[in-house]
């Protein structure tokens, strides 16, 4: 197995579906940063069979809403002095703002410049949200 050092202070994103690590890595902009980061793919996992994992050797503000939307089954571990001090189980956010766009051609958001449309979760299993303006369902 490839050895990758433990981090002293930072964040470990665990339980990423195999093959999805790269997308999350890019969505978080980690491919552009100057500090130490690692994307490990296809790690053997008892629970998942295989999983991806991301290690970030830095304190950064993670957008938990965005992460929860990408994969609500992720675990975010906060590491201090080489030890996990906090485990955050993600879930699908009940409300999201400014991320999704409404696809209904009759929605007012198609003619007005609205950047902060709020979407409300109505079907967690299928990741379906509805637009606050027209109630149209949108898949996240």
């Amino acid at each position: 197995m490839i050895k990758i050092d433990s981090i002293k202070k930072g964040i470990v994103i665990d339980h990423i579906k195999p093959g999805c690590g790269h997308t999350i890595f890019k969505d978080l902009g980690l491919h552009k940063v100057g500090y130490t980061v690692a994307l490990i793919k296809n790690i053997p996992s008892i629970k998942m069979g295989k999983k991806d994992l991301i290690k970030i050797e830095n304190e950064i503000d993670l957008d938990m809403t965005m992460l929860g939307l990408l994969d609500p089954n992720l675990t975010v571990n906060i590491v201090e002095n080489g030890k996990i001090t906090e485990k955050i189980k993600l879930k699908l956010p009940e409300k999201i703002k400014g991320i999704l766009k409404c696809k209904n051609p009759r929605c007012v958001s198609t003619i007005e410049n609205i950047t902060d449309i709020e979407f409300t979760l109505i079907d967690p299993e299928n990741k379906i949200y509805t637009c606050e303006y027209c109630d149209t369902p949108v898949k996240a």
């Binding site: 209904n104 009759r106 929605c107 007012v108 958001s109 198609t110 003619i111 007005e112 410049n113 609205i114 109505i122 079907d123 509805t130 637009c131 606050e132 303006y133 027209c134 109630d135 149209t136 369902p137």
Partner: protein, 304 residues
């Protein structure tokens, strides 16, 4: 307290607040002369980005009968909207002149967007195929008047259930009352949207293609017109426009106390041979609309 609030969708008011509106509307109907000056000096702005005769007249008549005045536009071409002004800027400006505003807009959610910027009470008078809460208040008031209750009813909704905003609003509003059963009668292409049925249990509704097969079990039949302006293709509209027709012959299958409602205008979906049937209440329904709007204007302005 409804003073200074907006009405964007029926759920904005509690069942109790709506009951308060009905009671005030009853009093206005009983003694209209007592209310003919309560809005003197107040101005209602009617912002109609889409043509409407009935709803606009109903609001204007309501305000004038309360002693107030009205200003506004009945198509966007005659306003600064044609210069590209945003909805937010329009409502902010109108708020400098008027005390209360009414908005109809072809885009869904436009009144909600406007309400976020409005400093005066704003009433949604219909947004695309989405919501039409004052029609809902009208419908509820009509049902209450003819059936003496708003619970324990079987209501058939027939016609364009996909784009029919009056239907969407009415279902949302009635589902807050006990033991209401909906029968959705429409062609495949105009079925009720899933975001409406998702909020109902399977016992609360059924869908069918047959008007005649459903008539016998209904306490109320709510007919709607297939609206040409909601279709992108004329061909699709022509295919569906005469799908359901209600006439005196078909009414023989209905209960003797079933009422027939329609938000108007009708085209062909209700034959004129129905108009003298005591069960046809659609013109009375329009009258209820004016009284409930009078009550609504009074409550939002906080006048007595």
């Amino acid at each position: 307290m409804l003073k200074d609030r907006h009405l964007i969708q029926p759920g904005d008011f509690t069942v109790g607040e709506i009951q308060g509106l009905f009671e005030l509307a009853d009093q206005i109907m009983e003694s209209p002369e007592k209310y003919m000056d309560v809005c003197r000096g107040k101005l209602l702005a009617t912002l109609f980005y889409e043509p409407s005769t009935r709803t606009r007249f109903s609001f204007e008549a309501a305000m004038l009968r309360l002693g107030g005045e009205t200003i506004g536009f009945s198509e966007p071409g005659s306003s600064s909207v044609s210069k590209g002004e945003s909805i937010g800027d329009t409502i902010r400006t109108i708020g400098c002149y008027a005390d209360i505003a009414v908005m109809r807009h072809p885009k869904e959610g436009a009144p909600l967007l406007a309400s976020k910027k409005s400093v005066i009470p704003l009433i949604n008078a219909g947004d695309g195929g989405h919501q039409h809460p004052t029609q809902t208040l009208t419908d509820l008031m009509t049902i209450r008047r003819y059936k003496n209750r708003l619970d324990n009813l079987v209501i058939g909704l027939c016609g364009d259930l996909k784009f029919g905003r009056t239907v969407h609003s009415l279902v949302k509003a009635l589902s807050r009352y006990e033991n209401i059963k909906f029968v959705f009668i429409s062609p495949n292409e105009l079925e009720i949207p899933s975001y409406i049925t998702d909020k109902l249990t399977s016992e609360q509704y059924e869908t069918t293609r047959s008007l005649e097969g459903s008539l016998g079990k209904l306490d109320i039949l709510y007919m709607t017109r297939v609206q040409r302006e909601r279709f992108f293709s004329e061909e699709e509209y022509l295919k569906l426009k005469d799908y359901f027709l209600l006439n005196a012959k078909k009414m023989e299958k209905a209960k003797s106390d079933m009422i027939v409602m329609h938000p108007l205008p009708r085209i062909n979906e209700i034959s004129t041979d129905m108009d003298n049937d005591d069960r046809a209440v659609y013109f009375e329904q329009a009258k209820m609309g004016m009284y409930i709007r009078m009550a609504l204007i009074m409550k939002l302005l906080g006048v007595e």
